[in-house]
């Protein structure tokens, strides 16, 4: 795979991923999203190793990270991203069902850029995903070395 997408969604639940993509699609952000199903895959992608060794250079402008995942969980992925000089500037937004203190503590200690609890009701969920997507992939100026903005659709 040699593509580079601007939003990396790391989410083990295909349903949650589908719901998130549905929400992003409603705001024309779906094409910008690469969905990976676990932490190990995400790290391979970010480090450009394994099956991602030949992908184009550059970092996503934001990583949307679930916490509870098999193999390497979100906290571990966050630790590695923030501990790696080449990756530490990538904005990471934790998106999780957990409002537990220990997860909040751990995430912020490791330097998470935002922490969003997935709302229970779909309407609220869609709204939350839209806000996160438009802010980080639109309004926010990403650090140098991030994936370039795709061609704006011509009017």
């Amino acid at each position: 795979m040699n593509f580079l997408k601007r939003i990396l969604l790391v989410e083990d639940s295909p349903r949650d991923a589908e719901l998130a993509l549905h929400a992003l699609a409603a705001h024309n952000l779906a094409n910008e999203v690469l969905h990976l199903q676990d932490g190990a895959e995400a790290l391979d992608y970010l480090y450009r190793r394994g099956e991602f060794s030949d992908r184009a250079k550059g970092n996503p402008v934001v990583v949307l990270l679930d916490l509870k995942m098999p193999k390497q969980d979100g906290i571990e992925v966050l630790r590695q991203i923030k501990g790696e000089p080449g990756l530490s500037t990538i904005p990471v937004v934790v998106m999780t069902s957990s409002r537990e203190d220990r997860d909040l503590q751990a995430a912020y200690r490791l330097g998470v850029n935002a922490y969003v609890v997935k709302p229970m009701q779909f309407k609220d969920f869609v709204d939350a995903v839209k806000q996160v997507g438009t802010f980080w992939a639109g309004l926010n100026e990403p650090p140098p070395g991030s994936a370039p903005r795709s061609e704006r659709p011509k009017y």
Binding site: S13, R15, D16, L19, H22, L67, K68, T96, S97, S98, R99, E100, K118, P119, M120, Q121, F122, K123, F125, V126
Partner: protein, 584 residues
Amino acid sequence: MGTSTQPSDSPVKVLIAEDSPTQAQRLRHILEQQGYEVGVAANGRLVLEMAPQFRPALIISDVIMPEMDGYELSRRIKADADLRNIPVILVTTMSDPQDVIRGLECGADNFVLKPYDEHYLLGRVRYVLANREFQRPQDAGMGVELYFNDKRHYITAGRLQILNLLLSTYDAAIQRNAELSQAQEELRGINAALAEVNRRLEQESRQREEAQQSLRESEQRLRSIVDNMATFVGEITPDGVLVDVNRAALESGGLQRQDVIGKRFEEAGWLSYSPAVQARLGEDIERALRGETVRHDMITRMADGALVPIDFMLVPVHDGEGRVVKLIASGIDITERKYFEKTLQEKNAALEAANQELESFSYSVSHDLRAPLRHIDGYIQMLVEDTASTLSSEARRYLNVITDASRQMGQLIDDLLAFSRMNHAEMHETQVDLGALVQNGIRDLEMPTQGRNIVWKVPPLPTASGDPAMLKQVFANLLGNAVKYTRPRDAAEIEIGSAGEEEGRLVLFVRDNGVGFDMKYADKLFGVFQRLHRPDEFEGTGIGLANVRRIIGRHGGRVWAEGKTGEGATFYFTLRPSAPAHRP
């Protein structure tokens, strides 16, 4: 008698013959005090040399002197025509009647008995001086021969001289007698005193004996106490040598008294199982010698070889000057305590593990149980979006029911999680203004009270001690319930107040005139997910009052309810009042 009165300008001269300078000095002093002029010669010969020039009115002579004694001196003077009129007083101990005869033989005029007192001597001197005039005319003395003690004596003395001598002898005898009587008297006194002393000594000795007896009894009593204690006790010298141990200590180690007394403590058997423990005891003794009371758990070896934990203590005993003179070692078998400690630790660990499990359970509940609900909700919404136009109204109603059900399930999960968290949440107790808490609680109910006619009765409330966030939750639940269950009332009345004290705690209440409840279900009110109404009557998950009870319980108080179906309900709870010092 004209010559016997002494003109003040010419003192009467007295010549003293005395070989002891101390005696001579004393005599001179006595006489000079009385105005006599005194000459001193160390022996008879010197008197004879001095007398012709000195011309004394009186010679006082000691009897025993070197070269020439008092008798010889007296004899020479009386034989000398020029000196014979000078009276001679012999100072003698008069220890022998022979002395009287020798005095007469030598012609001495008078005697002074040694030892003499001042008045006696001066009386003698004055008497002799006063009588010397009479002596001269009766000069001629008839010689008399007499035998005394198988000796022949030839006495030529005049009658006056003899009289004088005898008188002075008699006087001396009386004096001696008086002295003897006095001595006897004193002796009697001394004897009486001695008897008294003796009596006291006997009494003291009796008392000492009694004291010793009671000391022995007291020692035996103490010994029996010490020996019958379960505590092991030993006395150690500052060098670490055992001086005494009680029975419990001996029996614990299966040791005999004679085997341990005089031995070093660490070598006496209890601790010899481990050089490390022996070394530790050595350090303990050093510390105790510095005045420290040492106390720690230790392992001792029992008679059967079992190693048993004891609470060991080493206490220094000081003397009056602060020196450590001995150490008292004691030990209490703490096998049971250790056992319970261990059991408690295990129980604690188990509890900890259970808590941990519960926590990870609630964690997974929060994460895993919510996700499917979110999915249900999400996919139904997507379904509705995609098929809105083709669905029958009945199908849409079904989807609404599914959505409602999943939301209700989500609410139950959230409430259960909050309830579970309440058990683990740390409490931060401070002074809480209940009045302000109630006002905030009412303000937060703005939404559900919109369009309602509610009469709030809130008198001034006291300050209580508690966790502000938790107590806020209590009022939110109780006030929320009051608002909810008065929904059919116009006007609703809700009263918050304080109803005195119970065992030093404030009793507070929230009363409403709502639908009330049947008192036979009063117990069920505070159970988790317990409800007395159907969800279509009054919404809710049944966790609010369970939370209230849990919070008040964590504050050490209690909560209860009174009510009647259709006539409202009152919820009571107790809280610790804030400390008086903190009261505004």
